[in-house]
């Protein structure tokens, strides 16, 4: 599961919907993987305003990845004067698209329910009494 996706996933339980602590989910005992992908600058540009940067920064801290700046980069920083992708864009691509959780647990900050991840697939199937 890409770090991009983690920036949008919340706890699936109804009782957690309204609480701020149900996002972001926290990573526990996770194994990361980096997989090379073709860069898609337009997609990153499209997603940038939708990212929760604070959650992104927290996640990289949890995972022991290099520190992110406090503020999200602006759209202008993604492209150089020559129209070429900048280092900022490449870094975002690596972080959001190429880095993924292969195994471990995603934990809700509110109810502490643990969603297991295996082979990169997170299980969000809830026992019916917890839905």
């Amino acid at each position: 599961m890409k770090l991009l996706t983690l920036n949008f996933l919340t706890c699936a339980r109804k009782t957690c919907k309204a609480t701020a602590a149900s996002f972001p989910l926290h990573c526990r005992e996770v194994e990361l993987e980096q997989v090379e992908m073709d860069p898609n600058p337009l997609f990153i540009k499209n997603m940038l305003p939708r990212l929760d940067w604070k959650a992104m920064k927290g996640l990289t801290q949890e995972l022991g990845l290099p520190q992110l700046p406090n503020e999200a980069p602006s759209e202008e920083e993604l492209q150089g004067a020559d129209g070429e992708p900048t280092q900022v864009l490449n870094d975002l691509h690596t972080l959001l698209m190429e880095t993924s959780v292969v195994s471990g647990k995603l934990v809700c900050g509110n109810c502490e329910y643990e969603y297991p991840v295996k082979d990169g697939i997170a299980s969000f199937l809830l026992p019916s009494h917890m839905v």
Binding site: C11, L42, F124
Partner: protein, 279 residues
């Protein structure tokens, strides 16, 4: 022929054998691909988008999203949800590019508001009509699905669900659940009154008069959710028949697809991994 939906719940019906059979059938592959292309046409996305694939199965629909070239507004990035671990295992084996979740869409779509630009669901949501045990009803599961889908889409976003209702009651139950969730909804029928008829539930999220503003939906009779009270009183009909050469359209799509060589990544994500996922 009996419907798979009447035989078993989806996670049991799509077991290892069935999932392999489904995924390797060239007939099924081509049908799912052409319906996904049709859904994309209705979504009318202009740039690389973040898309939910509800009931993604082994990725036959999702891989089309990844394969759209930049001149056609792609490639898109997708997240799939499916309740069959065997289907997901097939997807892993085929190394599809989307992220996948083992999840029941009838329990809702667990993403924060405004996450996705669009959503597709190809041949899956009719399964939601079959849940019946003491603690879940089809209506409850449809509500949960459409309410959370609505919230997970950004304003102006769209969803297209191709589905196979068992009868007019199911068709109405599904579309009504979508409308109650707040969507502007229309149903498009390709090849109506033939045995190959295909239904697409086309859903739009908020913001102004949908009918005038959306491109690519000329054949869809869109009904604005905000006027639904009044429409419902009159007995409610929101189908549009897309008769403009559905056969020809499918042939054109087939031709396009054959022309597109699938790009195989040198860097294989899951090679050498265990294929079976057991939670």
């Amino acid at each position: 022929m009996s419907r798979p939906e009447d035989l078993l719940p989806p996670d049991l019906f799509y077991n290892d054998t069935e999932s392999r059979k489904y995924t390797t059938s060239s007939r099924i592959k081509s049908i799912q691909a052409s319906m996904t292309h049709r859904a994309l046409e209705l979504l009318d996305l202009k740039e690389p988008s973040f898309i939910l694939d509800a009931g993604c199965g082994s990725g036959l629909s999702g891989e089309i999203l990844s394969s759209i070239p930049d001149v056609e507004g792609g490639p898109h990035t997708w997240v799939g949800m499916d309740i069959s671990s065997s289907m997901l295992a097939q997807a892993l084996q085929r190394d599809v590019e989307g992220d996948m979740m083992f999840a029941d869409m009838g329990q809702g779509v667990p993403f924060r508001p405004g996450t996705f630009d669009a959503a597709i669901s190809i041949s899956a949501i009719q399964w939601l009509c079959n849940a019946d045990s003491s603690d879940v009803s089809p209506e409850g599961r449809l509500k949960r699905f459409f309410d959370s889908l609505y919230a997970s889409l950004r304003r102006g976003g769209r969803a297209v669900c191709q589905f196979y209702p068992k009868n007019p009651q199911q068709r109405a139950m599904i579309s009504n659940a979508a409308i109650k969730a707040g969507f502007g909804a229309g149903i498009l029928e390709d090849d109506p009154e033939t045995k190959n008829v295909k239904l697409y539930l086309v859903l739009t999220v908020g913001g102004g008069d949908i009918t005038g503003t959306v491109g690519g939906m000329q054949d869809v009779d869109v009904q604005d959710a905000r006027r639904r009270g009044e429409k419902q009183k009159r007995g409610w009909e929101f189908d549009a028949h897309n008769r403009k050469g559905s056969k020809a359209w499918i042939q054109r799509k087939k031709g396009q697809m054959e022309g597109k060589g699938k790009v195989v990544k040198a860097n294989s994500k899951y090679t050498g991994r265990k294929r079976r996922i057991v939670f």
